[in-house]
Amino acid sequence: AGPAAAQAGPDKIRIGWAVAKTGPNAPGVATTVLPNYKLWVEEINAAGGIQLKSGKRVPVEVVEYDDRSSSEEAVRAIERLVTQDKVDFILPPWGTGTNLAVGPTFHKHGYPLLAATAVTDRAPDLVKRWPNAFFFLGTGHGYGEALVSYLEQERKAGKIGTKVAMMSVADGFGVDLGGAARKVLAKHGFELVYDKTYPVGTQDLSPMLNEIKGLAPDVFIAFSYPPDTLGITDQAKVIGFNPKVFYTGVGTQFPLYKNKFGANVDGVMSLGGIDADDPAVQAYFRRHKEVTGQEPDRFASPIVWVSLQMLQQAIERVGVDRAAVSKELASGTFDTILGQVKLVDRQWPKLWWVGQWQDGEFRGIAPTDRAGARPAVIPKPAWKP
């Protein structure tokens, strides 16, 4: 193929992904990842394809695998996408562990890795090690610190006291976020009256909640996973545990959460958030619902979407040359539903660190200086029966 052919470009772009359709990671994929991938492909192909520099529109073609929630399967599936299917780009799997497991393989073959669902404190090191890797979901410390700084503000404003109870899931996520929060809480003079972890898969968290209620903290923080988040909220409601700040982990931002608890969600805080009044965001929500039949979550879903928008725009600008796309992703500025995005050290700088359910929507409240940030409702209204 000579330069002419290159000029004309390919007549299709092959996109691959290997995500957990089965196993313990499947709920995460089904909530946050796969609907976005489907929507993305759908929208591109509905428009006739990705418009390359030449003006030509090329449709995308998908090769997908199931990594069965296993790191080993994921690695092999990626190798298969690279060497057998020879796809042009690979969309990342779900979760920190899996993204890191496939990192070396992406790196070895020069594929950009847009890790939009990995939260790791090592992200700054990893981007150095893997020049094609991009991290969108921040570090555990980021969330922990932002939450505590926010609490510090509210305490200074006299809205809350110093007593904090914290529980976290005994897993990379819980440990990272809990560790960060612990440090910063101490620095700011908060009193940590309860600080314990629980194993993944614990089916009954009521003993912890009961104990915490007895300690009457001002602030309750749970760095929890979706099923636990639901259980914790349920139990808090049952025993009438009403701290001024009620913060739960992943799952709080899911539509499921609102469906289950209805009006009671108002005032519950968590990580992530969204500027729901932004028309671009609203349009995204609408399309997501139309195409996939489900609503996106209010934390990682929009970010996954942003990463996809960026990938698309990068391809539009530089074509299917993966090195060029990586370079463009690292240095370019992109127009997304969350506004103009430019990565810093190949990491996303402008996350919503803290969000809160308000008026039936999970809205970003910190960083407070970010456009669209809402003031938090504190204290959280008491649970209604």
Binding site: Y65, V75, T83, Q84, L100, A170
Partner: protein, 324 residues
């Protein structure tokens, strides 16, 4: 529960047939060894790694569970501990030392576990070993969270895929050689006797605890080594990844399918199951589970006694017809 059919029920292979099979196996191993030079790409190597990994695990599993009929679900405890040891020491110790450490840790764990478990039998042993693997998982988890305060370890070492492949291949050869040697030893007979009737075993002078413990440890050692060898493939290792119980089940299923009472039986199960998984998950990512389930059930209904049993019956029939 005597979950495994007796060796006699699995049929007796003729001397010539066995020789042919062994020759085939040796040829197969040689081919596998040459694979990286035959221009196999990363994916093929990855498939090879997968097959070898389960080959080592299933063969090592059957080393103990085949003759004694103690069906263990603790495979992943040793695999995980091996992987975890590699994750802990991988970046500080030279690789051979890492492997040695993994071996040592699995052996120690196997001895502790063995002493506690081996008086149980049947399904109680099965579930006990499952519980044990989970306990190890939970304890490692708790230790990491509360003592080291880092959950999830990063393992960046300079080991290529092909090197992993060769390590596993060497392990497989070692397991097979060990199994071969045990079969020909007093220990092998002792295990057969134990598998049949443990009371009798004691009454013919077999120190059953020692025999079982010894073999359990040998089996666990290989499994732990396999875990260590695999660890560099994942970069990030946390207890949930290392102690994924699916591995225990998969090993069990593969070995049972192939035939746990024969040295090459487990391998015979690994090959089709691994390839089947690969094929189905590649071609039908959304219907993988359904198809796999159907295929599995078909195997059970149409290929009783495992694949080895099938092969042997075929051969016996062919032998008879040829003789006429």
């Amino acid at each position: 529960m005597n979950a495994l059919p007796s060796p006699a029920a699995a049929g007796n292979s003729t001397g010539a047939g066995r020789l042919a099979l062994q020759a085939l196996a040796v040829a197969g191993l040689a081919l596998l060894a040459a694979l990286p030079w035959l221009g196999a790409d990363d994916y093929l190597i990855a498939v090879g790694i997968n097959i070898l990994q389960y080959g080592v695990l299933a063969t090592a599993w059957a080393l103990f569970s085949g003759p004694t009929r103690y069906v263990s679900l603790a495979t992943v405890a040793f695999f995980g501990i091996g992987a975890y040891t590699a994750a802990v020491f991988g970046e500080t110790l030279p690789w051979p030392a890492v492997l040695a450490a993994a071996l040592g840790v699995s052996l120690v764990l196997a001895l502790i576990v063995g002493l506690a478990t081996l008086r149980l039998s049947g399904v109680h042993f099965v579930i006990f070993t499952f519980g044990l693997a989970e306990l190890v998982h939970q304890l490692v988890n708790w230790y990491e969270v509360n003592v080291t305060r880092t959950l999830g370890r990063y393992l960046f070492v300079d080991i290529s895929q092909v090197q992993i492949y060769w390590q596993l291949l060497a392990l497989l050869v070692a397991v097979l050689a060990t199994g071969w040697a045990i079969r020909r030893s007093r220990l092998g007979l002792a295990l057969q006797v134990i598998g049949d009737d443990e009371v009798v075993a004691r009454h013919v002078g077999i120190d059953t605890t020692r025999a079982k413990l010894l073999l359990f440890a040998i089996s666990a050692g290989f499994i732990g080594l396999a875990g260590a060898a695999m660890a560099p493939r994942w970069t990030y290792i946390d207890p949930a990844i290392a102690f994924n119980p699916v591995i225990s089940f998969q090993v069990l299923i593969m070995a049972l399918l192939g035939g746990a009472n024969r040295l090459f039986g487990p391998l015979l199960g690994v090959l089709p199951v691994a390839l089947l998984f690969e094929l189905l998950s590649g071609s039908f990512p959304n219907h993988f589970m359904i198809l796999l389930g159907l295929v599995f059930m078909a195997i059970v209904y149409f290929i009783p006694n495992g694949l080895f049993g099938l092969l042997e019956r075929r051969r016996q029939r062919a032998g008879k017809e040829g003789g006429k």
